[in-house]
């Protein structure tokens, strides 16, 4: 056996006990959907894993009604400590079934078992454990002495971290006292179905969490439903825009976690061994299917050649193949459609004049695969420097001065994340101040933790997930009393602020939206 050649070490899929078909999870039970049942396949083999029910508008309606009922009759009346106990139970059940969930996720999504086992699933448990403890401490969240739950939360999540995104959405929503209707991505519903079984084991009251599977139209029916109070979405910026339009003029509270085109900035004094590993982790982790991926490498000109050489060397040692093999570094691309998008954008990169290098690795015959690829000689105007590729493709640009690095890093409508590699602490801190990004990793990349807020600037969306800040997305601030003398007793009645536009219910835009004018002058024409 040659150097760095390993014998296959597949994780056994026999730990799974999958059903041939999964229904929707509504009001604590699996039920049939009104839409056409669809297959979920393994992107590594293109084989059908299970059949998944499709929710139509009527099913979404049922799910929202169940969530509303559970909110009114059970969840909003339960003590915070009891809500917390349910979340602790869920965290423990996830830990108990961790390996099973990791295998199912790798099978359904195509990501390596090493990642699902060591990153995704442990973080899922950590997320529930973290937010469980908040449930009876909401008055300490910085939102006033008596923050209130919003009601029913509609949540739509992507396919890149199926179960982890579910946890990011459900854990804070339930801790804050909301009930949930969540829609997994069409290609990755499987672990959500296993999670529904966990909810049954936890004996979570029926209707507190409802899971509706299906395509984009299911999600659209969900976010535009009149009886939801909160919409949370993670996915593409284009769909985010559409949702922002749908929610405009309603009372629904909205948080969006959208695309990114992160700069990963490497200075000539960077700790180079760590930097190379960090760059690789930044863009090739999860096949580059990461919204905060370090897809634009900004290298100081003096070390450009060294960095690129070492990257190529390192990428040549990555193993691409069976996601269930414990030695696999690069798994399958999640879908044929995504593979097509990566190919198209990469071809565009080549056509626009960038220089393409692809790691020499064997591509399996079946399934969707894309070998790790680096583009050098990339300019800021190239498509591959501007558009989110969402695949294992790195664009390398150069800079000379810190000012140039900042200008190039910020030259994007996105603002989700960034990375800085330098041993000079003072320069790193100064740079951090200038980067318009919601998460900055200094001498590391792609770290996530339930206590650490995550979310973007600009067109990467708004709101934060994780940490104390993540609670604000699911609570209405009670506010503190206005300062004495400023708008309380001593202020003229006309100045006392009424609640924001049409505070009752989530009825249609213009009808409900118009705030009552407390006092309006007459006369005074134009």
């Amino acid at each position: 056996m040659a150097f760095l050649e390993y014998a296959p070490a597949p994780e056994s899929a026999s730990i799974l006990n999958l059903k041939a078909q999964y229904g929707l999870y509504i009001d604590g039970e699996f039920v049939d959907g009104g839409g056409e049942v669809f297959d979920t396949i393994s992107p590594a083999t293109e084989q059908v894993i299970a059949r998944i029910a499709q929710a139509d508008a009527h099913d979404v309606d049922r799910a929202v009604a169940a969530a509303r009922r559970a909110y009114e009759t059970v969840w909003s009346r339960m003590s915070g400590s009891d809500r917390g106990k349910y979340l602790f139970r869920i965290a423990r059940l996830v830990q108990e079934r961790a390996r099973e969930l990791a295998v199912a996720e790798s099978l359904d999504n195509g990501k390596p078992i090493r990642e699902t086992r060591d990153v995704d699933v442990p973080l899922v448990a950590a997320w529930f454990f973290y937010y469980a403890g908040w449930a009876d401490k909401l008055e300490y969240a910085g939102l006033g002495p008596n923050p209130r739950a919003l009601g029913v939360a509609a949540q739509v999540i992507p396919w890149n971290f199926p179960l982890l995104m579910l946890a990011w959405k459900i854990a804070p929503a339930l801790a804050a006292g909301n009930t949930v209707v969540i829609k997994p991505a069409e290609t990755t519903s499987l672990t959500a179905m296993l999670f529904a079984e966990i909810l049954q084991q936890a004996d979570l009251p029926a209707g507190v969490v409802n899971i509706v599977t299906g395509p984009g139209s299911t999600g659209q029916a969900l976010v535009s439903h009149d009886d939801v109070n909160k919409v949370a979405f993670t996915g593409s910026t284009n769909v985010g825009r559409m949702i922002a339009r749908q929610v405009a003029g309603t009372q629904k509270k909205l948080t969006l976690e959208l695309g990114g085109k992160a700069a990963n900035i490497v200075f000539d004094d960077a700790p180079m061994d760590q930097a190379i590993e960090g760059i690789v982790n930044g863009i090739f982790f999860n096949q580059g299917h990461v919204c905060c991926a370090g897809s634009r490498l900004l290298v100081q000109e003096t070390v450009h050649d060294e960095v690129v050489e070492r990257l190529k060397e390192r990428l040549s040692t990555l193993r691409l193949g069976d996601p269930l093999d414990k030695n696999t570094d690069i798994g399958a691309i999640n879908s044929a459609a995504q593979l097509e998008r990566i190919r198209t954008l990469s071809d565009t990169g080549e056509n626009e004049g960038a220089e393409r290098w692809t790691a020499d690795c064997r591509i399996p015959e079946k399934g969707f695969w894309f070998a790790p690829t680096i583009f050098t000689r990339v300019s800021a105007a190239h498509s591959i420097a501007r558009e989110e590729i969402f695949g294992p493709v790195l664009s390398v640009l150069t800079f000379r001065t810190p000012a140039e690095a900042i200008a190039k890093a910020n030259n994007t409508p996105y603002g989700l994340s960034a990375g800085i590699w330098t041993e000079k602490g003072s320069r790193m801190l100064a740079l951090v101040d200038q980067l318009r990004a919601g998460v900055v990793w200094a001498n590391t990349f792609n770290r996530f933790d339930p206590s650490s807020p995550f979310g973007g600037y600009k067109e990467s969306g708004y709101g934060r997930e994780g940490g104390r800040h993540g609670l604000a997305a699911y609570l209405e601030a009670s506010g503190w009393d206005a300062p004495a003398g400023l708008g309380s007793a001593s202020a003229p009645a006309a100045l006392v602020t009424a609640p924001a536009a049409g505070a009752s219910g989530a009825a249609g835009a213009k009808a409900a939206g118009k705030p009552a004018k407390k006092s309006t002058r007459k006369g005074a024409a134009k």
């Binding site: 405009a248 003029g249 705030p515």
Partner: protein, 293 residues
């Protein structure tokens, strides 16, 4: 013998200067009793775009100033407002048709609102920020930063609000380092322009607060759709019902195209509140690696 007075020409405030509208348009501002008060500039799309350029240019310096410095500048606004109260009482009582005592009470409140927000400048990050206990060898810190350029609608036609309204909107926006383009109360814009004169002499750098007079229904759609505006404060936009131009829902729809942060309309004058500061900040979280010893 009475002296013939020298009336003021009310203009826009953009980038530290006081230009007329590039369109050459004006509109009559009338007193509560219907008498003529002034010809205010009727800002155009071009004026709004110029104001955004000015606000963007001012952002780096203002957001880069120390919080202590911003706090002192904002406090100084209160000081100068105090010194010019007679002028504001006169303008308020004539435009709103209220007594001098009521106008005086409004000026008091406006001054006190500046003072209240001034004190937040170097404390807000402590209240909104967080040290995060992540599982790993990282020093992890979340801090609030200003969102960028905010376009705002001052409360429209609120009795007791022709000065207090715009102050209550602008103060929480700028205190964290944002810059603002604010559309004044259409029918009572005089105090807003006089306030701009106070700001210009209060060490507020030019371009931090840009004040437009005219029709919010006409001007706001351009600002809501402007790709270099990061957020909208629709405080006074509730009265825009679409009967004469854009409604506030139209503005929110336009804002969705560039994913602007939007603060919903309120009735009356917004009360001083931490939430108004929080609406226009971003949370930046930084992971600093700790080395092994």
């Amino acid at each position: 013998m009475t002296r013939l007075s020298v009336p003021k020409t009310y203009k826009l405030a953009i980038g530290g200067a006081f230009p007329r509208s590039e369109s050459g348009r004006t509109y009559e501002v009338l007193a509560a009793d219907g008498g003529f008060l002034a010809n205010a500039a009727k800002a155009s799309r071009k004026d709004a775009r110029d104001a955004v350029v000015a606000a963007r240019s001012a952002f780096a310096k203002w957001s880069g100033a120390t919080a202590y410095n911003r706090g002192q500048v904002i406090y100084r606004i209160a000081e100068l407002l105090e010194g010019r109260r007679a002028q504001f009482i006169d303008e308020i009582s004539r435009t709103e048709g209220v007594s001098a005592a009521e106008a005086s009470a409004q000026v008091d409140l406006a001054i006190d609102v500046w003072v209240w927000y001034a004190g937040w400048a170097d404390k807000y990050a402590q209240v909104a920020g967080n040290a995060n206990p992540v599982s790993g060898p990282y020093f992890n810190l979340s801090v609030p930063e200003p969102t960028g350029v905010v376009a705002a609608v001052a409360p429209q036609g609120v009795t007791g609000g022709s000065l207090l309204g715009i102050v209550s909107v602008v103060a929480p926006i700028i205190l964290t380092g944002n810059t603002v383009v604010v559309v004044a109360d259409e029918t009572a814009p005089l105090s807003a322009i006089s306030l701009a004169e106070v700001l210009a002499t209060s060490d507020v750098p030019g371009g931090v607060v840009n004040t437009l007079t005219g029709s919010p229904a006409e001007i706001m759609p351009w600002l809501a759709a402007h790709a270099d505006v990061n957020a909208l404060d629709l405080a006074g936009a509730g009265s825009l019902d679409g009967s004469s131009g854009a409604s506030w829902v139209d503005l929110q729809l336009a804002a969705a195209e560039t994913l602007k942060r939007v603060l919903a309309p309120v009735a009356g004058v917004p009360r001083p509140a931490l939430e108004r500061i929080s609406a226009f900040v971003e949370t930046k979280t930084v992971w600093h690696t700790k080395s092994m010893l």
